[in-house]
Structures are given as C-alpha cells and as structure tokens.
Symmetry: C2
C-alpha cells in the first residue's frame, strides 16, 4: 500500500479499491484480473500498479479494512445492557451489514472458504479474542438466568451463519423465493421470531 498524499491520489486509491471489491467479491482472488479491475475503475492497468505495488496488495488492503467493519457490531454488544435486546440488536445489525454490504460479505466468505490464506493471523488473533470476550458476557447472562442456557460460541456462530447466508447465497435465495419477495425483510422477521424463542430463559 502506498502513502496517498494528494487529493487525487486518495480519490484514485478509493476508486481502485471500490472496483477491486466488485471484481474480487464476484470472482475470487485468482478469478479476478487486473484488466477487469482497471476497466471497472476506469483507469489503465499500469496506473493501478502505480497506486498499489501488486494485485495481492489491493486484495490485502480490502480484507484489512473489512475485518474491523465486520466485527464492530459484536464489539458493540454491551454487557451492561438488556441481554435479550443486546443479542437481538447484534443479530439485527449483522443482518443489516449483509443487506448493505453484500460484496464485503462475499469477499470475506471466499477468503475463509479457501482456508483464509491471507487472513489467518487476523482470524486467530483479533476475531478469536473478541468472540472469547463476548462469550464470557453471554455466559454471565446465562448464569444469571437472563437468557436461555446455550453454548455461547455456537450462539454467535448461529448469528453469523443465519445473517451472512442472505448475502453469500443471494443467488440461491432469490431463485428459491422467486420474484416479488424482499429477502432481507422476510429474513428479519424470521430471525426475530427465531431468537425470541431461542433466548427466552
């Protein structure tokens, strides 16, 4: 990654990252080509490599930015808040992320599916630590009898799985639902019911 100084440099870097997100999330790292990214960005291929030293550097920059956005809603789950409302709120924010940032969700999914070759440290470090911290909070709520007793880590997994499914498997979801449906609205209602029943002490 370069050190963007001027306005133009910042703007071009952002344009490249935006285009790269489009292409990487649709075709994976190997499936994406610099030609495609350059075309979407409206820049020449060598110009891309003026702003970033390599294809890999562009990809790595996207993943790094992504992770913090991805973990923010979990970070916001407040030990001092109402337990059911906090878990519900987390689920809701995570579903909104899937709805509003489906490309980011798919980029992340492809990376993990392929064994996280460019994210292992972040997964094993930052993400694992945050889940461990929040699992303690959940366990505490369960011990107080304020939410149902469940495996707290798998409870977090369930929220990830159920919300990300709508972004990652979007093609399948829309095919099965047919036209005239709003997948995310329906998912929201379904998941509210699911977690209301699951979490009740």
């Amino acid at each position: 990654m370069p050190r963007p100084m001027t306005r133009i440099q910042i703007r071009n870097s952002e344009t490249i990252l935006e285009a790269a997100l489009d292409v990487f999330s649709a075709h994976g790292f190997r499936g994406a080509t610099l030609d495609q990214i350059a075309e979407v960005a409206g820049l020449s291929k060598p110009n891309l490599l003026y702003y970033f030293p390599s294809k890999e550097a562009i990809h790595r920059t996207l993943l790094t930015r992504l992770l913090s956005t991805w973990l923010d809603p979990l970070r916001d789950m407040d030990a001092a808040g109402d337990p059911v409302a906090e878990v519900m709120g987390y689920m809701r924010r995570k579903l909104e992320l899937s709805r509003d940032y489906p490309r980011e969700s798919r980029l992340f999914a492809i990376e993990i599916l392929q064994g996280a070759p460019r994210m292992r440290e972040a997964i094993e470090g930052e993400l694992t630590a945050l889940v461990a911290e929040k699992a303690k909070v959940l366990q505490h709520w369960m011990d107080e009898g304020r939410i149902a007793r469940l495996d707290p880590v798998h409870l977090v997994f369930s929220i990830w799985a159920l919300t990300q499914h709508y972004a990652d498997f979007d093609v399948q979801v829309r095919a099965v639902l047919g036209s005239g449906h709003d997948p995310y609205a329906e998912a929201g209602a379904f998941l509210e019911t699911l977690y209301a029943r699951l979490l009740a002490p």
Copy 2:
C-alpha cells in the same frame, strides 16, 4: 464427460474426480490448475485431458454429481411422518453431510457465492421445485398446529445456513473454538436445542 468402458477407465476417471474435488474445493475454479489436479491424481496433465475434454468438464461433472447428494435428505423429508421428527431428522442428516463431505459443501458454496455461473439452471429448476414442494408440506404441518407457524422457506434456509456453516467456515470455527473441541458434536447438540425450541407449536 467421456463414456468410461473398461475398469481402468472407470478407475482413472474416479481418481481424477477425487483429486479435482480436493483442488477445486480448496481454490475455486480459476484458482485450481490442471497441474495441481494431475499431481494429486498421480497422472500426467495430458492424461487428464484424455479422460475429460477440458478443465470445465471436470468441474461440471463434480457439480452435477454433487447436487443430487445434496438434495437427498430434503427429498427424504416425509409428509406422512411426525413433523418435528422429520424436520429434526433433515437437520441432522444435513449436518452429517457437512461433517462427512466438507469438500463438496465448499465446492457448492464457492459456486453459489460467485453467482452460480455453472449451476444456474439446476438452482432455478430442480432445487427451487423441491423446496417449493417441501414448503407446502411444512405449511400443512403448521396449519394443523403440529409445528410452530414460521415462514417455511426461511426455515429451510436456516437449516442450510446453520449446517453448512460448519463445513464452509471450518477454518474460522476451529480457530475460534481452539483445540480440544469437536465442532460437529457441539453443533449437533446446539442445533437440537435450537430447533426443539423453534418448532414447538
């Protein structure tokens, strides 16, 4: 796909498909190379192309085989059986598929994630039709008051999401759980509880 005749032809075709499953599920279609597949299969690259006309043909053969295996458990959900037991049984068999065939799960996931370029017809035809059929069965059970009233299609989505997560995001699941865990055993217990609470009328 060729028409295997002799024993050797059949055996070699199977060896190639087995190796291809390994490589495609780990790196995606574009990320996989014939060199890698040939090495895993213990055959030469031209020999691969003697048995299959192209890289794409190998991939397509894998996807075609996969889909029917993948849909079998849902097909087995019996309208005449006990509703809760049938849904639970479907969830359980789907989780077993994730545990026993994680490579197939990832192959399928990568394909859908990238917009199902080689599976669209199957998704829009066979899969959509089967879900529609089974959604009617679920709706009927709900109308009879034998399971809780929920959106039947999203109920199916939830089973897919929650079970496939353990195969597709295996790296992340194991990193977060740490060593000394059996992800599928824990998932089984968690999902039994989840669906018991969710389905109770």
